[in-house]
Symmetry: C2
Amino acid sequence: MAQQHLDPTDPRSRHAGPVPTGDALAGYLRAQATEFLRALRLHRETGSGANGSEASAEAARALRRSARRISASLHTFQSLLDSEWCEAMRPELAWVSGTLAMEHAYTARLERLLAALHRLSGSAAFPAQTGARAAAASLPKAGAPAQERGNLTVGAAKAGALLDRQLTLARTRAHSTALQALGSSRFHAVADKVAVLASEVPLARTAGTTDLRPLSTAAQDRLADAVTALPLVVAGHPYNAAALVHGLSPDTVPHPQDAPWHQVRLLLRLHRYAREAVSGPKGNAVVDLRLLAAGQALNRHRDASEASAAAAQAARTPRIAPATAYALGVLHADQRHEVEAARFAFQQAWQKETVGAS
Amino acid sequence: MAQQHLDPTDPRSRHAGPVPTGDALAGYLRAQATEFLRALRLHRETGSGANGSEASAEAARALRRSARRISASLHTFQSLLDSEWCEAMRPELAWVSGTLAMEHAYTARLERLLAALHRLSGSAAFPAQTGARAAAASLPKAGAPAQERGNLTVGAAKAGALLDRQLTLARTRAHSTALQALGSSRFHAVADKVAVLASEVPLARTAGTTDLRPLSTAAQDRLADAVTALPLVVAGHPYNAAALVHGLSPDTVPHPQDAPWHQVRLLLRLHRYAREAVSGPKGNAVVDLRLLAAGQALNRHRDASEASAAAAQAARTPRIAPATAYALGVLHADQRHEVEAARFAFQQAWQKETVGAS
């Protein structure tokens, strides 16, 4: 397992410094709160126009990142904090990061699906770096080079245009919702509380003498338990075709079989943030390559799962042409195989020996 | 490589018996010709009704098997045989085995596609052993158990019915064509020639003193060269997504990327039959597990490739519902991933150390 330097029986952790207590947690929370406020200021300065500039998107990402870390610490180390305050704060932070995440999620989903359509059309000319709009525009483009035009079916082009329409609309709505949220009194109340947190962490009375590490270990154990419950033996066999079972089932999305993997993704994040809090102000420098690879695989799993659902959903649009529906079916199956590939990658990462890289 | 006991420098082959010459080849050809005649007699006795009994299908399989082996030997060992006779005989044998293979191919393709549709619908209740007709009938069946009915979409059911209609029609036509062929004067001429072969093999004058093994080794080298040209590094990386590139390309089937694999499949068969001929009357007992696994992977590759093409073809049927087209798109992609899985399996089998299992 990854946590050797958090193990109190490990000589290295005994020699590494003082036992991390509530004071270390308070320092971590203050740093994250300060980061939240910095990102918020940046977000206001960079403006929040309809399309969102790159700087504004980066600010929103930083806001989400610190909100997630504060929320996770409140969860893992709740017994060291004022519990009433924790319980009031966590849903509000989840609302902030959830609301801000939607716009980015729709953008990424559209990019993923359009890139897949190009790949499936054998169109190597896809300009991946120019973003989703350019990709969508290039799909039905009449003036495209002959070899590219020759590689795109009517169905693929129509499917791309349909997904572009639907996901762009969803993204625009998510953008408005996020803007409204950021201007709401609810958000101002959260920001005020985070401003207080940046200077004054509401620790419980015993926190100063309580070791953080058992709580961090508990988070790690919850992760390990959830991983144990995953079908890792199946996932470790390439081409097990498990992810596409129910690919044609009439149940609407999401696939129930994906849920335990999504859960592990969240638990892995909680574990990672708990490690950061425990390892102090330099916590971000502690990188466990195994956890990183496992986390990336689970992000890919989530993205492919949601993209496959979006393709299936688009195929239910009334009055689409059979060729469009066919392309969306191929796309759906392709993304379900991405789901399966991500599970395989997670299994491979997880079974690796830990590489301590602090 | 697999051929240690054929290697003249290998002490085991020097001690195994006399050098195999044209006499061994003649023995092999006589045995295969006798088998051909036996299967033909069986086929006539078991009748050839519209649906073809199990015994009749088995007889047709045996006919094809011996025709393939005779034809392959004529190819590999042509220099030991009357070359004019070889050149006249080979296309006729290819015509026989090709014509007889079609009915079985359509039956197997339909079974594969309907089984996949059931798997993709999450319907574990699929009675795999009852054959394609029962599977097709169960797809739109109104009286199916609730949990099965709940797992089948309208699209999957309609796609299954469409494939059943198209492939059953193709199979029926193939059956008629095979029956006509078996009754034709062209076939009688082939059968007469095979009857002569069963007692009298037209060897070249030098055949009695010519070692078969260099010719068999040449067949093996042709196989090895073709395998070297395959993209085995890519195939060895699970989930490389290579087989579905061009999954939406407007080119009609078959996929050009499949051709080198089909070619290796044929060369592997030639190599295997050459080994049989060289190792004498007990040749069939020499089983190389690696070759067997590699051959099975390539058969699966061919079957999945053709099934995916049939799904794509069915999706071009005019006036189908979008839900049907969507299901066919998922099915096409699923079979292309089967293609990829088969390439992975071939790569795994090929890189294994040879296991001598004679």
